[in-house]
Symmetry: C2
Subunit: 231 residues, 2 copies
């Protein structure tokens, strides 16, 4: 399917968002990539986002200080949990959960979509290998879409209903990686780690939940993992 | 009704938000007031918010640059329309509409509510004298609430469902003012104007939609208008 329609792609710089960017590009969209500097300790992911965004028409980086709210290991001085297994992750919502983060990110994407006349917002959420975050589930996504179409001028006037596009939602990490490799995504240029060493760009800690799922994804897909993990 | 429950109150510094702050206080909530510095040309409303917030336990001001999106007379170099009537306002969504603004504000309120353990979020939307903004209507509010309860850890775990409290939604501006006066709100300390003169704090232009509705509200309520309008 080729179309010249405008789309907004939420681009964190991680593996999932790099894949949805490639999917949106394959569909022929004119892409505005949207990233956030939100006080994340893994702000190095923005370096990755910047590089990946060369595939987009425009890259908007919004400053948002989510540290003002607190309550997450991703933004506060709380240790990022290490060496957990999939079973551990299934049992609770982890401390790396940032309160209402996807809702805040999608709200900004909605504003940008309205201004740009974009009908599609791509977000790389994943209900399978998803670390237990509530705002990654299909029910949540549908509810946001319903709300979004009541929120905007374009939605009300019926000129531009907005669709939340979640092409990864039912895929395993291995399936995501296979799809991305087919589309030519360079996963060596992405950063998934929640707690990357300060010293080098794109080096992963290897022990946080995001690194665990990433490693496992490449192993399950039987695809060579190009990631540099800290020793 | 008295309760010691936590609540988040969206506080712009205008007439409506001053009224909901007083309503939340009367209900006995422990209040966190939330305001935004979003690139609004009427940033003077934050001076009003700061003063009003003395009634709250805590006042959080978030910096958000909505100018990055553009498309509104409230944030861009577009003239604020003047001397429109209610009939004019009923006919379209005005240029002062900021794309997805309430969605962005409510998303941040949701994050703060989750961190503070607040079950109530107060927002001073108004479906009657509402300037034609889509994100002030009851359908929108209910859709946001549904989404919010799927978005958060507390919602998922069922420990703290969130309620969007819109005590002004069915009231006319005159009824809002009467209610506020009963509760002792000092409307002379609020700022509604979209285009306040740069010279003085709390002076209103007298010609924008917000000033029109404010003036008309005091007149309809037969209550002396304490507002200083620019000559």
């Amino acid at each position: 399917m080729k179309s010249a329609a405008n789309a907004v792609v939420l681009l964190s710089g991680g593996l999932d968002s790099a894949t949805i960017l490639a999917i949106a590009a394959t569909e022929g969209h004119r892409i505005t990539a949207l990233s956030f500097r939100y006080g994340q300790r893994h702000a190095r992911e923005l370096d990755a986002a910047q590089n990946l965004a060369t595939a987009a028409e425009r890259h908007v980086v919004i400053d948002l200080d989510l540290r003002a709210y607190g309550g997450s290991a991703l933004t506060d001085d709380i240790d990022v949990p290490k060496d957990r297994t999939t079973a551990d992750m299934a049992n609770d919502i982890p401390i790396t959960y940032v309160p209402a983060r996807n809702t805040i990110f999608l709200s900004h994407a909605l504003a940008l979509a309205e201004v740009e006349g974009a009908g599609d917002i791509f977000i790389g959420v994943n209900a399978l290998d998803y670390s237990g975050y509530p705002d990654c589930r299909p029910d949540y996504i549908r509810a946001f879409e319903t709300m979004a179409n009541l929120a905007t001028k374009a939605g009300i006037e019926g000129t531009m209903p907005v669709r939340l596009r979640t092409p990864l939602i039912d895929l395993s990490k291995a399936e995501i990686i296979r799809r991305g490799v087919e589309l030519g995504v360079d996963y060596g240029a992405t950063l998934s780690c929640y707690d990357p060493p300060a010293t080098e760009i794109l080096t992963h800690c290897g022990g946080c939940d995001a690194c665990y799922l990433r490693k496992k994804g490449f192993a399950d897909a039987s695809i060579m993992d190009p990631t540099v993990y800290a020793p």
